[in-house]
Symmetry: C2
Subunit: 320 residues, 2 copies
DNA sequence: AAGGTTCTTGCAACCGGTTGCTAAGAGACA
DNA sequence: TGTCTCTTAGCAACCGGTTGCAAGAACCTT
């Protein structure tokens, strides 16, 4: 059995409150007493029970981080950045994965409530309404979603999409396929919005799709058949799957079809051809999300981070 | 403010203990009362505070999962499998990443203590002695490590290494480079052990290395210079980095050097050349680890899972 | 030496639940 | 109708800490 505050108190003949203060308000206890207590605590291997402490103080010094899919290489750098940032603030981050399932997402949030001081919600699949309701029980920072009055870290997807479309237009592409992501994805909507209002393009929409390689692989035949000479994919994973699917059909990238992804994940940099993509500032986002959560007195500050087009090998001149 | 058990009790004029029992021992309360309580609870949006409950019951229905590096694609499938399995047992899994740093690992374990019912420790970097000591405070299941008397899920690395070496020998390779992982890695030791006792091989050891692409990239020049015609890499990430580094030096894989990895991660399947590798049963391991944690009354059951060689394109006949 | 500060510590209530014990009330049975 | 179970619900202690309040001790002032 782990030692409790009582054991320590008994061990050095002092009241529990003195032991408690030794740890949470050292300046209130006599240096001599303090060192006696510390010695006894060390001796017994005592460590304050964080859960019990949280019960009275209301603060756990933990935060939750919920992502749709840890398998997506986009998230790990964000997670690591958040953990590192939190550690510097004396906080710990617990991560959970929703498997892209809104119900799991809701359940996880409920579980986190009261066990953490706040939750970082990355690319949520829940409806805005539901998120707002859950926000009554635990503070949120949402990443990649805009919700009125709620602190958010956004990546400038619109800007990225514009850069990507300009790049494709410059290469002579006119008929462009837009392969979107899952329902409820803010990113998807942003991309479609920008594309739709860009003049001079002949767009073909495909979606919703799973935001994974499998999703890309699955739409490859349709994309090939639609006559587009270029594709803007929901993310790099989809782009990679798409390229895989196209090459299985003997369609060359970028010779016959150009492909642009989003995120700039590592596998895209190793792929042949190396993926042209819109880089998302995942590391910055992770850091900002933590800061926002700790600062926000419930204030709805929104931070928007810039994106950048990285041209590699998966885009080329349109076939004439 | 979230509703507490008291609010519910007041709302329907019963004692708090009755409300408590409505949720934790429904059969002890009169159906009529029960439904009144449930109605009131629903009305107030009451949810039991899991942390408070854990204080008296000693059970949190949470478990921790600590990995060395979430960025390594090997872990996400394991994590997801564990979460899914735990969910089926009414448990939740909180994940944390140590960044390959033993001190962070220790701190995370300490944080988890008392907030979870047990911890799954994947590929730990801490010493056996330290792990044994920490095990006094919270139950563990270790994955990829053998510690006396502690429940463990092992993958048969030795078997996999043997298969890989046999495969290379059959292709005519004799001088083989062994690129190991970080210090404190059980997997690395297993590999080296098998290789050392295999007769007829001319081995060159390289290590310790970071278990990442960067690690593989960094040793590529030395490996190229050592005259080996084949490499057994610590994991797929290292193998991928190695291939990248070798091709940057215009050394063809598998034409000039054959490369075998470990894990069977997704990027290895998409790489050109597709990676020959020893598949590790990550999904099974995640599931088993959860089961072991929930079963073990502190018993030290050990489960060993089989591995399999998957021959793809990164291995070929030795140059003559 | 009396009165006022400042330090230090103990007391006890509280956070949100759980649970062993007890007693009131209902129903069964003679 | 009296006695004996069996349900059902309340009481109160407890889990491991925190914290406002108050009292005693030590130290200063004048």
């Amino acid at each position: 059995m782990a030692a409790t505050i009582k054991d320590v108190a008994r061990a050095c003949g002092v009241h529990v409150s003195t032991v408690s203060r030794t740890f949470s308000a050292p300046h209130l206890v006599n240096p001599a007493t303090r060192s006696r207590v510390l010695a006894a605590a060390d001796d017994l291997g005592y460590r304050p029970n964080r859960a019990a402490r949280a019960l009275t103080t209301g603060r756990t010094f933990n935060m939750g981080l919920i992502v749709a899919d840890i398998s997506n290489p986009f998230f790990p750098p964000l997670i690591k950045a958040a953990q590192a940032q939190a550690r510097g603030r004396d906080y710990h981050v617990f991560v959970a994965d929703t498997d892209e399932d809104p119900r799991v997402e809701e359940e996880l949030i409920r579980t986190f409530t009261k066990q953490v001081d706040g939750v970082l919600l990355c690319s949520p699949r829940l409806s805005n309404k539901m998120i707002e309701r859950l926000a009554e029980d635990v503070p949120f920072v949402v990443v990649n979603r805009r919700i009125k009055g709620m602190p958010a870290v956004l990546m400038n997807v619109a800007q990225g999409a514009r850069l990507a479309l300009d790049h494709l237009a410059e290469l002579g592409h006119r008929r462009i396929a837009l392969v979107s992501g899952p329902i409820g994805s803010w990113t998807s909507n942003e991309m479609q919005g920008v594309a739709a209002e860009t003049p001079g393009l002949d767009l073909v929409f495909f979606g919703p799709n799973q935001p994974t390689e499998a999703g890309g692989l699955a739409v490859a035949p349709e994309v090939a058949a639609c006559g587009a000479t270029a594709v803007l994919a929901y993310n790099d994973l989809v782009a990679l799957g798409l390229i895989e699917g196209l090459s299985a059909m003997e369609i060359g990238v970028p010779d016959q079809i150009s492909v642009v992804g989003f995120d700039d994940i590592l596998p895209g940099r190793l792929n042949r051809p190396k993926l042209t993509t819109v880089a998302m500032p995942a590391v910055q986002a992770g850091r900002m999300a933590v800061d926002l959560l700790l600062q926000s007195g419930g204030e709805g500050a929104t931070v928007t981070l810039d994106t950048a087009l990285i041209v590699r090998e998966s885009t080329g001149r349109a076939q004439t």
